[in-house]
């Protein structure tokens, strides 16, 4: 976003005081292959899911740590968003799913040989979580294991 100085006072303070994680260092895995040989996954925090899957639901504590599987070969018309925030402009994704979840773009990169292949599945979480502990302890590692089992080399992470 938005450079903070361009925001309203309320929005700026909300973001400045948002209880986000503070890490001292980042884990690091060097890419094992060149991009042209890599299997690439999309992982998003945009609260997306397949049309016939269960929408995300805010729980009592205002969180939602579950995730949804979106097969990379599913029709983009079958992907919808149930993110529970109206703090972002939904018109972007109404116009074009790719502005948040570039599944068409990744397919094009595969056709052009820029990436080796797209992964079998993409994964979607809910964003704007004030308490991410269950994602850190449970659902995040679970998705990481699934991606590894599916032979993924690189993950592109997108917000909404």
């Amino acid at each position: 976003m938005p450079r903070l100085e361009t925001l309203s006072e309320v929005q700026r303070r909300t973001l400045e005081f948002f209880p986000c994680l503070e890490n001292d260092a980042a884990p690091w895995t060097a890419p094992s292959h060149s991009l042209a040989q890599s299997r690439v996954a999309l992982v998003t925090t945009a609260g997306l899911h397949r049309r016939d899957d269960q929408p995300f639901a805010r729980d009592a504590a205002g969180g939602e740590a579950s995730y949804r599987v979106i097969p990379s070969d599913c029709d983009p018309a079958d992907v919808v968003q149930s993110h529970f925030s109206i703090g972002f402009d939904h018109t972007g994704i109404y116009r074009d799913l790719n502005v948040t979840f570039p599944m068409d773009r990744l397919g094009e990169l595969q056709e052009r040989g820029v990436i080796g292949s797209v992964s079998t599945n993409y994964y979607s979480f809910m964003g704007a979580l004030r308490d991410a502990s269950r994602v850190i302890e449970e659902t995040g590692p679970e998705v990481a294991r699934r991606l590894r089992e599916e032979g993924v080399d690189v993950a592109l992470l997108t917000p909404t």
Partner: protein, 228 residues
């Protein structure tokens, strides 16, 4: 987590200050507004440049690597007014959301047809051809009828959640119809039209006000995600 499983990650991030704290291994800060992570809808070339900039970080020798996307010309969403920031036009109160839904249907259907079936409508499970019923349900909710319900509500979905899915579907229906009706409308114009001119916008604002007037913190949190 992913890196610990041997997967190299590169992230698009929208709040630089948060990325500085979280320290993801590779992060591309984009100066776009929330809802526009790749900058511009319907602009594949621009989106490819954002993706490429994120992939370029895979070349970094060490991390955390935080880079800034060099282009700063995608201003969509810059002025997204919430409902309370829009002045209602006087005629709004006299309009009927059910009649609007009927009048907008042809535009909505043309939008969906022109977008290969892509539509953000679909959380409630109610087909748009039955949205007059969805409107009547939301009108009952706005009037404080705590028993109002629809047979389409799935067993695992609570009534408050269902209200939100219905409201989200109604919003998406109106916006997509309007984008078909006025193809050059700016995001700001769309929001001002929805909240200030349509009975549908007023209906969702009224539902939020009714939920907000309760003592139930869950309903009040729900209201905050409908209109504010």
């Amino acid at each position: 987590m992913l890196e610990e499983q041997g997967i190299a990650t590169t992230a698009i991030v929208m709040v630089r200050e948060h990325a500085e704290k979280v320290k993801p291994p590779r992060a591309l800060f984009v100066p776009f507004y929330f809802g526009f992570a790749l900058g511009k809808p319907d602009d594949p070339a621009y989106q490819h440049r954002v993706i490429q900039a994120a992939f370029d970080l895979l070349q970094a020798a060490e991390g955390p690597a935080l880079a800034d996307f060099p282009e700063d010309d995608a201003a969509a969403g810059a002025t997204m007014p919430q409902a309370s920031q829009v002045t209602a036009e006087p005629a709004q109160a006299a309009r009927s959301a059910a009649d609007e839904v009927t009048a907008l249907r042809a535009f909505y259907e043309r939008w969906v047809e022109g977008h290969s079936g892509r539509t953000a409508v679909g959380l409630s499970g109610i087909p748009q051809r039955r949205f007059r019923g969805l409107v009547r349900f939301l009108e009952a909710c706005a009037q404080g009828d705590a028993e109002a319900d629809l047979t389409e509500r799935p067993a695992g979905v609570s009534r408050p959640q269902f209200i939100r899915y219905c409201a989200d579907d109604l919003k998406a229906f109106y916006y997509e119809a309007r984008m078909e009706q006025q193809r050059d409308a700016t995001e700001e114009a769309l929001h001002r039209w929805f909240w200030g001119s349509t009975a549908g916008g007023k209906l969702i604002t009224d539902v939020a006000a009714t939920l907000n007037a309760t003592e139930d913190p869950n309903l009040r949190a729900l209201a905050y995600g409908l209109a504010r």
